[in-house]
Symmetry: C2
Subunit: 364 residues, 2 copies
């Protein structure tokens, strides 16, 4: 949805409230619920989603009046940002923009960011758009390289085969209006958990030799990386392979790219990539690639505990992942993706990744 | 120092040890001490530095033999990396490369990264080069924009006026061999603590209108950002202005850019920028720019405690900073740089920064 349509939608919400007031009714906003009991894993799409429950937020209700007013303030400021074509802001900047003392009183519109953040999410789900469509950003962290040409909102043409040792920084908004993909000539997208591993593959021009995009989110990915990978998978029908550490934390990062997360269920629907495959590192690889003992890290209580938790998650309820989590428990050791250099510095690029990809040695 | 010279230096260290062995002497390595009591603030240069104390590490010494051997293993692996022109690695990858079980024994060369990290630093100071010259990297985080053209080690030409909404990612190594500055046409470098603030300035093309470079390290800067700013200040004689939050944490980030830090004293010598100036946000700005009450954040015990600590640091012992820290204590509130949007979204770019820079309203 573009800025103009969002403004129209916000206007119609405002007009609706005015109409209710004119009819002497008690005005309300209807907002999809973001509480945990309205979040579920949708087996059919493979995504963590919001359910259909909605809440009504009334004006004439002692416990809801302040929040009702705050919601309108946030909605109206967003409308203004879009109409005036203002720069994109962080949600902290939006908070400062909204916070003021109501004239003739000592009452603040908002006291802390804890009050604006949930309302921003309310407005997102009410409009069924992403925060980024409202020009509200989170700090991106990732970098990428490969045969991709983008026209940026600034008019700059970005060629990700020519971004040097640093790779191209992922911008805070990757929606088409900001990040228009003009050309893409790759066979797949390789998502790498850690920067150090991405960095070696970039220096070895893995993306060129294997005709792929290499992306890292530097650990737990930010919103922009997840959304960009989603776009690449669905708009360009590209396979996505995720390469992480062999430990519960790496496996969970994979699941965030794939199915999303509970806490950001609404975003997960739009940024998850259910068709992503897990490339490794996995327990079967230990024998397959003859990993030396020196690469094993003994698991601690916290690791075992995390595996137990993950075994219960709805999106790990297939036999392959149940088996993998059990195998990891039994093996009792973690292996980091960095540790592949103990075979050789070239091993990841020349042996491990090509073998895994050619033979489709993936977990679902 | 280039790779060839470093290899020569490493070779001469090795030859020296062989010679000592042939003479039936007890071989040793002489390494500048990195302990806290050999770190001092050098008033003349304005840098946190290593003193002149050195330690001798002997082969025939029960408590030093293992470390002696480990030092030679690290030095020899680095020599190999440079001679073979291998990709740059993280120090974690180097650890995996070095760790192995000594044949015929159950003894590992290294058991944890805690053993390799200090030895990498020993080798750095022994050779008087940066880790980056040894092709060992830390993950960079920063981005920049402005009239700068760089030839990257890959041969790519990077134009930082054409990096779109994302800006250009700072690469892990910014030494001339990797990041050769071909053209730079700016009047100053503006270092911004937070990404969100950098992001708005980038969208407003502040760097173009004001002919400067804008850089953010996203909070506490990584090595590459500090080193790049040092190079810009000294090789191109550019003024550097640092813009942070008005709180002890922001002031400390400034001091890290300027004088460096105790823990990385050796790096500070080579990456500090003593001529950097503190642009703000500072207590005098509150009145000067008529900041609204809604932007004040009440200080907590932890903030007061940090101010007290900082007042004692040797590099905060000038009257301007002692006064500023006292003023902050008295004011009892922090103000974030993000909060300037509460004046207007344009205020930072159109009023605050130009006023401060034109009138040289800086702290030393």
């Amino acid at each position: 949805m573009d800025a103009k349509k969002i403004v129209e939608k916000l206007e119609s919400i405002g007009k609706d409230i005015v109409k209710q007031l004119e009819l002497n009714q008690n005005p309300y906003l209807e907002i999809p619920e973001r509480s945990l009991d309205n979040v579920y894993f949708d087996k059919e799409t493979g995504l963590i989603k919001l359910g259909s429950k909605k809440q009504k937020r009334y004006y004439l209700n002692l416990s809801q009046a302040k929040k009702f007013m705050q919601t309108l303030l946030v909605a109206s400021k967003i409308k203004w940002l879009l109409e005036e074509d203002k720069p994109s802001l962080s949600i902290r900047q939006l908070y400062y923009l909204l916070k003021h003392t109501i004239p003739g009183s000592k009452e603040n519109t908002f006291d802390t960011q804890d009050e604006t953040d949930p309302i921003v999410e309310d407005v997102e789900v009410m409009l069924d758009v992403l925060r980024e469509n409202l020009r509200l950003i989170a700090t991106p962290n990732g970098v990428l390289a490969g045969d991709l040409i983008v026209e940026d909102k600034t008019g700059d043409i970005l060629d990700y085969t020519k971004m040097g040792s640093a790779g191209g920084a992922i911008p805070p908004i990757v929606e088409d209006e900001y990040f228009h993909i003009k050309e893409i000539n790759v066979e797949y997208v390789l998502v790498i958990e850690k920067y150090a591993v991405w960095n070696v593959l970039n220096q070895q021009k893995f993306w060129k030799k294997n005709n792929c995009l290499i992306i890292t989110g530097k650990g737990q990915p930010a919103r922009a990386e997840r959304r960009l990978i989603h776009r690449l998978a669905y708009e360009y029908n590209l396979p996505v392979y995720v390469f992480t550490d062999m430990d519960p934390w790496g496996y969970y990062i994979y699941s965030v790219y794939k199915q999303g997360s509970i806490n950001l269920a609404f975003f997960s629907e739009k940024a998850g990539t259910p068709k992503a495959k897990f490339l490794g590192f996995q327990t079967a690889d230990v024998k397959e690639f003859d990993m030396p003992q020196s690469s094993f890290i003994k698991m601690k209580d916290i690791d075992y505990k995390r595996i137990k938790e993950m075994k219960k998650y709805a999106w790990f309820q297939n036999k392959e992942w149940q088996k993998e989590l059990t195998n990891l428990e039994k093996f009792g050791h973690k292996i980091e993706q960095d540790a592949l250099v103990s075979k050789s510095i070239e091993f990841t690029a020349e042996t491990y990744l090509p073998t895994k990809i050619e033979n489709k040695m993936f977990l679902p």
